[in-house]
C-alpha cells in the first residue's frame, strides 16, 4: 500500500508539474523573450535560456511609450473605481444583509443581471455622452464607468461576507449604544476585513484587466496598461522582445498581487457559493 502510494505520488507530481508548466508556459516564454535582443527573439530555432540577456527592451519601452504614465493610470483607475464602489456597496450590503426585506433577494439578482448586459449595448450613448461632456480619455470618466461595471459584484460579494457575521454581535453593539455609523466602523468593518480585502482584490484585478471601456474611451491621457499594450498590436515591424517587455511590465504588478492573495481571491470568486 505504502509503496503504491509513493509511486502514485511521484507520477501525479510529474503529471501536475507538466500540466502546470504547460499552462504557465506562455507567460514564462513572454518573460524570457523580454530579456532577449530582437534578433534572438525572432531566431529559429528559438533560444530557451542561453541567449544574450539584456534589459534594453525595458528601458526602451519606458522611453518610447511611457510605461509609468500608463501604469499609474492603471493603478488610479483600478483602485479608484474599487474605492468608489466600496463607498456605495458597504452601506448597501449592510442594508441588504442585516435588514433584509422581501425584495432583497430579487434586488441582488437584478443587480447581478445588469452585469450581464453587454457593454456594446450602451457603447454608443456612453461614447456620445462622454464626448459631449469632454470626458473621453479622462480618468474621472473611466473611474465612473469601471465603478458602475463592478458595483454589482462588489455588493454581492460584500453581502455574502456580511451575511456570515452573527446578528447578535451587531445587536450587542446596538445595546451598547453604538449608532449605525459607529456600528459599521467599530464592529462590522473590522470583522469583515478579510471579506472586504478579497472583494477589493478581485475588483482591482477585474478593473486592471478591463479591456472594453478602456480601449474604447481612452487614447493616451487616461489610457491604462490595456490600451498601452494594444498599441503594440500594430503589425509594422516585429518587435517581439519589446512587446514582451511591455507585456511583462503590464501584468507583473497584478500577477504579484494575485499570487500573494490567491486564497482569498478564489473564495471571493465563488461568490461564497462554493465553500
Amino acid at each position: 500500500m505504502a509503496v503504491y502510494s509513493v509511486r502514485r505520488q511521484v507520477t501525479m507530481t510529474i503529471l501536475a508539474w507538466i500540466v502546470g508548466l504547460a499552462i504557465f508556459f506562455p507567460i514564462l516564454w513572454m518573460v524570457l523573450t523580454s530579456f532577449k535582443t530582437e534578433l534572438d527573439a525572432f531566431s529559429t530555432p528559438p533560444q530557451f535560456l542561453f541567449f544574450h540577456w539584456t534589459l534594453e527592451n525595458y528601458a526602451e519601452v519606458q522611453e518610447r511609450s511611457h510605461y509609468f504614465h500608463h501604469a499609474l493610470n492603471s493603478i488610479i483607475l483600478s483602485f479608484g473605481s474599487t474605492l468608489v464602489a466600496l463607498l456605495f456597496a458597504i452601506p448597501a450590503a449592510w442594508g441588504m444583509a442585516f435588514s433584509p426585506t422581501k425584495r432583497t433577494r430579487s434586488t441582488l439578482l437584478w443587480m447581478l443581471s445588469t452585469k450581464m448586459m453587454p457593454p456594446v449595448g450602451v457603447l454608443v450613448p456612453i461614447y456620445l455622452i462622454f464626448r459631449d461632456l469632454g470626458m473621453l480619455d479622462s480618468r474621472f470618466g473611466l473611474i465612473m464607468v469601471l465603478f458602475l461595471g463592478n458595483l454589482p459584484i462588489v455588493v454581492w460579494m460584500l453581502y455574502t461576507y456580511f451575511k456570515e457575521i452573527p446578528r447578535d454581535i451587531l445587536e450587542a453593539a446596538r445595546m451598547d449604544g453604538a449608532t449605525i455609523g459607529k456600528e459599521i466602523i467599530y464592529i462590522l468593518a473590522p470583522m469583515a476585513i478579510p471579506g472586504i480585502a478579497s472583494t477589493v482584490l478581485l475588483n482591482v484585478i477585474l478593473a486592471w484587466n478591463e479591456a472594453f471601456w478602456t480601449l474604447n474611451l481612452t487614447t493616451s491621457e487616461a489610457a491604462p496598461l490595456t490600451t498601452f499594450i494594444a498599441s503594440y498590436s500594430s503589425p509594422e515591424g516585429l518587435f517581439w522582445a519589446k512587446l514582451s517587455a511591455a507585456s511583462t511590465l503590464a501584468i507583473a504588478p497584478i500577477m504579484v498581487l494575485g499570487w500573494f492573495s490567491q486564497k482569498q481571491l478564489v473564495r471571493g470568486l465563488t461568490f461564497g457559493a462554493v465553500k
Binding site: L15, V19, P119, V124, N209, T226, S244, Q262, F271
Partner: protein, 290 residues
C-alpha cells in the same frame, strides 16, 4: 434589527447603489433604443431622422449578423466546454497528493491575472506566429508544415486564447469544491468497492454541480462580451470569421460611424443577453439558494 428604524435605514443605505445602477442601466439603454430608431451617422451630423425599425431590419437581415451570432455562441459554448472539462481534469489532478502543490497552484492560476490584450498579443506573436512562433518551430522540427493559425483557423485560435485565460478560474473553483468533498464519503465508496469511474460520475460530479453552475454563470457574463482578444488579434477577420456580436456593433459604431445601425445591434445584443440572463438567474436562483 427588525425595527422600523433599522428597516428604514437599510433601505436608505441600499438606495444609492440601486439608484446609480438603475440610471447606469436605463439612461444609456433608453438612448440606445432612441438612436436605434434614427438614421444617425456621425459622418453626416445634423441629418438625423426618424426611420422606425429600419435599422433593425438592416441589422437583422444582414448576413453579418447571423455570422456574428453564430460566432458568439460558438465562442461561448466552446470556451465553456473546454474550461469546464479541462478545469475538472486539472482540479482532479491538483487534488492528488503532489509535491510542490503550492507552486503548481501559482502556475495554474497565473493566466487569470493576464489582461486580455496581453494574452492575445503573446499568443498571436510569440506562440502562434506562422514564421517565428514557437508552435511553428515545433511543427517544423517534427517535420510538419507550420500552421498559419489566424488565417486558417481564426475562430479556433481566438477560442484557444480565451479558454486559456479562463481555465484557471474554472480549475480553482472546481478544486475548492472538490476539496470540500468529505473524506468519509470517499472511504465509504472504497468500502463499497465503487470503481474510480463510477465514483467520479455518481459522487464527484453531482458534488461539483453547484460549482459548475457558478463557473458557467460567471464565465458567460464575461464571454458574451469578449472584445479585446478579437480587437488585437484579428480585428474580426479574416472577413467576418472572428466577428462576434460585440465586435460587430463596435465596428458599426466606431469604424463606420453608423450610430443608428450600431444602436440597433446593441439592442439586439442586450435582448440576446437578457435571454441568457433570464436563464442564468433562474439557474443560480435555484442553485445558490440556501
Amino acid at each position: 434589527m427588525a425595527t422600523r428604524q433599522s428597516t428604514f435605514l437599510g433601505r436608505i443605505l441600499a438606495a444609492p447603489s440601486i439608484l446609480v445602477l438603475f440610471l447606469w442601466m436605463i439612461v444609456p439603454l433608453g438612448m440606445t433604443i432612441w438612436f436605434s430608431l434614427l438614421r444617425y451617422n456621425l459622418l453626416d451630423p445634423g441629418n438625423e431622422s426618424f426611420i422606425g425599425a429600419l435599422n433593425y431590419e438592416y441589422f437583422l437581415t444582414d448576413p453579418a449578423f447571423f455570422t456574428a451570432l453564430g460566432n458568439t455562441l460558438l465562442l461561448v459554448g466552446s470556451v465553456l466546454l473546454i474550461t469546464i472539462v479541462g478545469g475538472i481534469l486539472v482540479a482532479l489532478l491538483m487534488d492528488q497528493p503532489i509535491f510542490g502543490q503550492g507552486v503548481v497552484r501559482l502556475f495554474i492560476i497565473a493566466p487569470f491575472f493576464v489582461m486580455p490584450t496581453v494574452s492575445a498579443l503573446v499568443w498571436k506573436n510569440l506562440l502562434m506566429h506562422p514564421v517565428s512562433g514557437l508552435f511553428a518551430w515545433i511543427a517544423t522540427s517534427l517535420g510538419f508544415q507550420p500552421v498559419d493559425w489566424f488565417s486558417n483557423a481564426p475562430l479556433f485560435s481566438v477560442i484557444l486564447i480565451v479558454a486559456w485565460q479562463w481555465l484557471p478560474f474554472a480549475a480553482l473553483i472546481l478544486l475548492t469544491a472538490l476539496q470540500s468533498l468529505d473524506g468519509e464519503q470517499k472511504e465509504a465508496a472504497q468500502m463499497d468497492g465503487v470503481g474510480p469511474f463510477s465514483f467520479f460520475f455518481y459522487i464527484v460530479l453531482p458534488h461539483l454541480a453547484r460549482a459548475i453552475t457558478v463557473v458557467i454563470l460567471i464565465e458567460t457574463i464575461f464571454l458574451l462580451s469578449v472584445f479585446a482578444e478579437i480587437f488585437v488579434t484579428t480585428g474580426g477577420g479574416p472577413g467576418l470569421a472572428t466577428t462576434n456580436i460585440a465586435f460587430l456593433v463596435y465596428a458599426q459604431a466606431l469604424l463606420q460611424y453608423d450610430v443608428g445601425g450600431a444602436s440597433a445591434g446593441g439592442i439586439v445584443a442586450v435582448v440576446l443577453a437578457n435571454i441568457v440572463a433570464a436563464f442564468m438567474v433562474r439557474l443560480i436562483g435555484k442553485n445558490l439558494e440556501a
